[in-house]
């Protein structure tokens, strides 16, 4: 077929073309459609905006912070209220600027979120997809293991792990990851079971594809969107669990400006100096909310049942 000479397309028409000329154009067009569905949801955009701000805060924490996050002015600036000159959000009991601590704490929050997602999601995806596709005793064994993990209360299991491994933010991440993969395995398995008997999987099997190839290239992509949505919605819970472990003194250790640990240390004077515990609390609230809004938007944008249209 020859290319039809035509007026130059606008970028939007090029993206929405139903006759893409290259692999790249097809992929970009699909991404653009997803973005359009996503951006129709104003609240989801707000969530995305908050998270972009969080990431920028984490990157530029060193430049943005007016003071050191770990050493304070014990003599001159203890427990100053918000709005004091030089200390926008006030100071804590050791004279440390709360704004600077929040900015640096965003790095820890991102560190926890990213590591948990990177560890837990692939484990859940692989376990679930393999169990769902293989069926039989492989399915039974993998799912009973998943059930065992699901049977423990999340925070208690995380506590036990941290107690065994020793307190610290890395161990907290590990504990949260170990306790958060089972729901992902369940979702991946359920999605796999719905597609494993589809004709398009049978067609690939008839091509002579190995089970590994089928699971990796043909089944897993079908599980991804519901998994991404679920992980995003779970991130709020992960942040809260990390904060909870920090609050109990089992997560980040002083003087790290982890938000949960900051609340814990502010708890003692919450009635007289409310801002010490409240500021990190608001930060946790905002980020958790942002993840929930983002997850909702992604659910609409990535809905696999809608993607066919």
């Amino acid at each position: 077929m020859t290319a039809v000479p035509s007026a130059p397309l606008s970028r939007r028409d090029w993206l929405l073309s139903d006759r893409p000329q290259s692999r790249m154009q097809a992929r970009l067009g699909r991404a653009y459609m997803t973005w359009r569905r996503f951006s129709a949801n104003r609240l989801a955009l707000l969530g995305l905006g908050i998270l972009v701000v969080l990431i920028l805060m984490a990157i530029f924490a060193g430049v943005l912070s007016p003071h050191s996050p770990v050493t304070g002015d014990l003599a001159g600036a203890r427990l100053l209220p918000p709005g004091s000159p030089g200390y926008l959000l006030g100071t804590d009991e050791q004279g440390r600027d709360i704004l600077s601590r929040l900015l640096h704490g965003s790095r820890l929050t991102l560190f926890v979120i990213i590591l948990v997602a990177v560890i837990a999601a692939p484990i859940g995806l692989i376990v679930g997809a393999v169990a769902g596709y293989a069926g039989g005793w492989i399915d039974a064994v993998l799912m009973r293991i998943t059930d065992i993990f699901l049977a423990f209360p999340k925070l208690v299991l995380a506590l036990a792990l941290v107690a065994a491994l020793g307190p610290g933010i890395e161990n907290a991440v590990l504990a949260i990851a170990v306790t958060s993969w089972p729901p992902y395995a369940r979702i991946a398995r359920a999605e796999t079971m719905t597609v494993r008997n589809a004709d398009y999987i049978a067609a690939v099997r008839l091509m002579g594809a190995s089970p590994l190839r089928i699971v990796l290239l043909h089944v897993m992509p079908m599980c991804l969107s519901s998994l991404i949505v679920r992980i995003t919605l779970d991130m709020a819970g992960v942040i809260l669990t990390a904060a909870g472990l920090g609050f109990l003194g089992l997560g980040a250790q002083p003087p790290l400006p982890e938000w949960g640990a900051m609340i814990a240390s502010g708890r003692r004077f919450i009635l007289d100096q409310w801002w010490v515990a409240t500021m990190p609390g608001i930060a946790i609230l905002l980020v958790s909310l942002a993840f929930n809004l983002l997850g909702d938007g992604l659910r609409d944008a990535l809905d696999p049942r809608e993607a066919g249209q």
Partner: protein
């Protein structure tokens, strides 16, 4: 004339249900063989058993003179035998472009020259390269079925299993796809094993056919016999009457 596909006394059992009960057929090389019967008669199950997608409990399947293992098939088998499914809306991966779909068999069998082969396969089924980077949801039913045929042909099989390839399409598109299949068969000398509930399609396409009912072959006959009405089994006669459709009888 040699036999391309044969089944000897094949039985397929799903849990407690006997989907195929001692079925034997023999398909000559380069010919079309039709399987007809009502829904649930086991005609699709026979195709799936040959393709290795149904659990064969007993019996023997042969393709090009080689006996097939009941479950496992090797890659050479899949280069010889390919299948086109009934529902073109379900047989194409919803997240893959046509390009990606057609690349998969080439990647699995390690065939070189993918670009040219994909372009040729699309040309052969009358879909030009303009369709190459579309997703399946951007195609009509007939176009999808053409893609499914292109995918089956791209590994250059000698035997094509057709599971009601046109029953999900509307009448005019049905004719197009049937003509395409006929032409491909002439060009490549393929052996067709075709399932249909439409006697008209089968008599048009096939030289020989078997009539099936509840997992058994009721009758084997040639298309010419069917047209001439040389029918032995009562069931075949009923099927024939049914396929003529509703006839208004004068009061």
């Amino acid at each position: 004339m040699s036999t391309a596909v044969s089944a000897h006394d094949v039985t397929v059992i799903y849990e407690d249900f006997k989907a195929l009960d001692g079925v034997s057929i023999a398909v000559d090389r380069g010919k079309s063989y039709g399987l007809v019967g009502e829904s649930g008669s086991g005609k699709s199950t026979l195709l799936r058993a040959i393709a290795g997608l149904a659990p064969v409990a007993s019996g023997r399947l042969e393709v090009n003179g080689r006996t097939l293992a009941p479950r496992r098939r090797d890659k050479a088998f899949y280069r010889d035998v390919q299948m086109v499914f009934q529902d073109p809306y379900g047989s194409l991966h919803p997240r893959q472009t046509i390009d990606r779909l057609l690349q998969e068999p080439l990647a699995i069998h390690g065939l070189s020259d993918a670009e040219a082969r994909i372009a040729r396969a699309l040309d052969e089924v009358g879909l030009g390269t303009g369709f190459r980077f579309r997703y399946s949801h951007q195609l009509s039913g007939g176009q999808r079925q053409r893609v499914a045929i292109a995918r089956a042909l791209i590994v250059e099989p000698s035997i094509l299993l057709l599971d009601e390839p046109t029953s999900a399409l509307d009448a005019s598109v049905q004719a197009e796809v049937l003509n395409l299949l006929e032409q491909i068969q002439r060009d490549r000398g393929l052996t067709f094993l075709m399932v249909s509930h439409d006697l008209g399609v089968v008599t048009h396409m096939c030289d020989q056919l078997a009539v099936m009912r509840s997992g058994k072959v009721v009758e084997r006959l040639s298309a010419a016999d069917l047209v001439a009405g040389r029918i032995d089994a009562e069931y075949t006669r009923n099927l024939m009457v049914a396929s003529k459709g509703f006839v208004r009888t004068s009061a």
